[in-house]
Symmetry: C2
Subunit: 394 residues, 2 copies
């Protein structure tokens, strides 16, 4: 995945086990417009605190990212290490350190191995190239992910073709004390800053903020987009002719990355879309869908392929969302299980169980109270989830 005006590299810095890439760099040859969404967790890792500050300041020229260590709960030393990392990258690239962002993913509470990391930064910068593409960065940010999560879209603006490429890893805290969802998107399209912030935040809401594996929000979650304008188009804004296409391509890419994360969820055997319609408003619909998606009882039922609609009604009931229990309808794919709060009867049990044996299916809950609607994507809760998370550090 090549994108004009961007160079990429990845090396082994021995933060993880030997033989694994764990340090990567993205360089934009010209200053890039940047927008980002960071974790809402009150406990924030040092790289999150630093990068949040810098994205707010102005254009960005580089992002350095490591896996294997989250640099979270590391106090003042953690901030010093994050600063030093960007300082060294800036020196080797001959740019300002304020133009360098940093991200980390991995174990919480251990200091970064700065001796090994700082030694690896020079070879990392030397390895920057246009050949490898964003793929090498995707490789380097994997922890226990089973496949690199990435995607690429192409569009046209002012007769110039542009590329949007993205990579991601590990949803929320589906990774144990390995904190983090990271998502990095780079595009050679020129985009106005304010509009980029607006559409990127909205796109993340419909994608990364619509997935949940275990309901835990990490200390390091970061989604970032860099737009460097190398495609040569007039900067895209809300009124540009090419705006709708750009938004559509970006949203499609973000959703694709988010769904790859769910499919790669720890121990996941099912991929489930949960839609709540007929809520009083969209916020309530999302709250209800999240309550269903995060219920351990609902998730174990998915794993057990049990068409247990009672647990779903109970979850929406305790979600805090306004419901009239005598009006709720519920479908598994096209099979109606519940009609006006009552079991639909007939062969619904058998046909519903049939649906749950599928690897992917939809749960739709209609509250019939208003126009609010939202979809959340999740996986099941399996024996393997427990194994992976119980035994991770041992």
């Amino acid at each position: 995945m090549k994108v004009k005006g961007f160079l990429f590299s990845a090396v082994e810095a021995a933060i993880k086990k030997p033989g694994r890439l764990d340090l990567a760099l993205i360089q934009s040859l010209q200053p890039a417009t940047a927008a980002a969404v960071f974790t809402t967790n009150s406990v924030k890792a040092a790289p999150v605190l630093l990068s949040r500050e810098r994205v707010a300041l102005g254009p960005i020229r580089a992002l350095v990212v490591n896996s294997g260590n989250a640099n979270a709960c590391t106090g003042r030393q953690g901030m010093e290490d994050a600063l030093e990392t960007t300082r060294l990258v800036a020196r080797y690239l001959e740019i300002n350190e304020e133009e360098v962002l940093v991200a980390s993913t991995g174990v919480i509470g251990q200091p970064l191995p700065m001796d090994r990391l700082s030694v690896a930064l020079h070879p990392l910068v030397s390895a920057l190239s246009n050949d490898a593409g964003l793929d090498v960065v995707a490789q380097a940010i994997m922890n226990t992910d089973t496949f690199p999560q990435m995607g690429c879209r192409q569009g046209m603006a002012d007769g110039k073709s542009y590329t949007i490429a993205g990579i991601a890893k590990g949803a929320g805290m589906i990774m144990p004390n390995m904190a983090t969802m990271l998502a990095f998107v780079v595009t050679d399209a020129a985009v106005e800053l304010e509009w980029l912030e607006q559409i990127f935040t909205a796109g993340c809401d419909l994608s990364f903020n619509a997935i949940t594996v275990d309901g835990d929000t990490s200390t390091n979650d970061t989604a970032l987009i860099l737009a460097n304008g190398a495609a040569g188009n007039e900067p895209l804004g809300g009124h540009s002719e090419g705006a709708p296409e750009f938004v559509a391509l970006l949203n499609d890419l973000l959703l694709s990355l988010a769904l790859q994360i769910v499919r790669d969820g720890e121990g996941a055997t099912k991929f489930v879309s949960i839609t709540v319609t007929g809520a009083l408003n969209d916020l309530q619909a999302k709250k209800g869908a999240k309550a269903i998606a995060n219920s351990s009882l609902v998730k174990t039922a998915f794993y057990g392929q049990d068409a247990n609609w009672g647990r779903i009604l109970a979850a929406i009931g305790y979600s805090g969302v306004t419901v009239d229990q005598d009006q709720i309808d519920l479908h598994f794919d096209d099979v109606q299980m519940v009609k006006n709060g009552l079991f639909a009867g007939g062969d619904a049990e058998a046909r519903g169980s049939e649906v749950l044996r599928r690897k992917e299916f939809c749960v739709t809950v209609d509250l019939k109270l208003g126009m609010g609607c939202a979809t959340v994507y999740t996986s099941d809760l399996s024996h393997d989830y427990v194994s992976i998370n119980a035994d991770y550090r041992t």
Copy 2:
């Protein structure tokens, strides 16, 4: 467990498999002052709706309870069945039907088998006696509970001795589509209504509302106390000499019942007390403790005996509670793992792992911001939890 002026009975009504008691009755020989706490789930079972109405109306003389079927999500027919059950009990006991409460626990969404249930009500009333004690009711409300949960306390008021006895089953929705936590307390002490409501609600907050197995709130949760005055004391109220003792005994009994529920949690291998201190206020402390207790990542770490303090800090971080990440302290029993947001170092890792190998231990998080404090009791998330909940109906 005998209590003056109360009769008890239980029979097989074939709601569950043959050979299992599944229908029980408590009769107070004189009208009893009643107070109750019901589920906050918006989806409420018919018996909850009916009993809530009747407790508000006045004194109660009987409670009929079945297991095996929750009579939840059963619509108008469910309410008819609940009414008919209390009507038949009232007729056989020659009392008003408004004086009869009803509770149900079991599968959601299936109609009560009224043919079998109604036939069993007459033998149930005939079997009422003072001999069997509350224990038979405890037996009859078990679903997959592995032991009957009960307790008994004795005190003195005005030179009269009184008894408080209680039974409970299944916390929250630790039971799959078997909805329900039920807790019934009976006492022969005379107690003023308003004060009884007040201390019972407060007592439930410190006990049943301080336990969590999987964070799911059922459609049927009911905690009830009946005080019939057969002990002959002057009705206890806030200013009575015997008030402090009564409150202490009641709270002690309620907490004991609640902790028995956690110990009997599905697949539980650990019993963990989670205390948050130094929060801005008690509500925030409880919110933080609950977020920790309900985190699947924290619970699997307990199961894996992994001293994974990073997950606990992440959970309090996303709980919505005010924290200063550079001030947090964390202990496993007496071992300090985190000091001012940083790993405490030394042999903390080894000693912390030691603590987690215990069957019971405490996690204490000190936010050092204020005087708010709360404790929540929980269990771990094990392979057996997944098995029980994935395979329950199959």
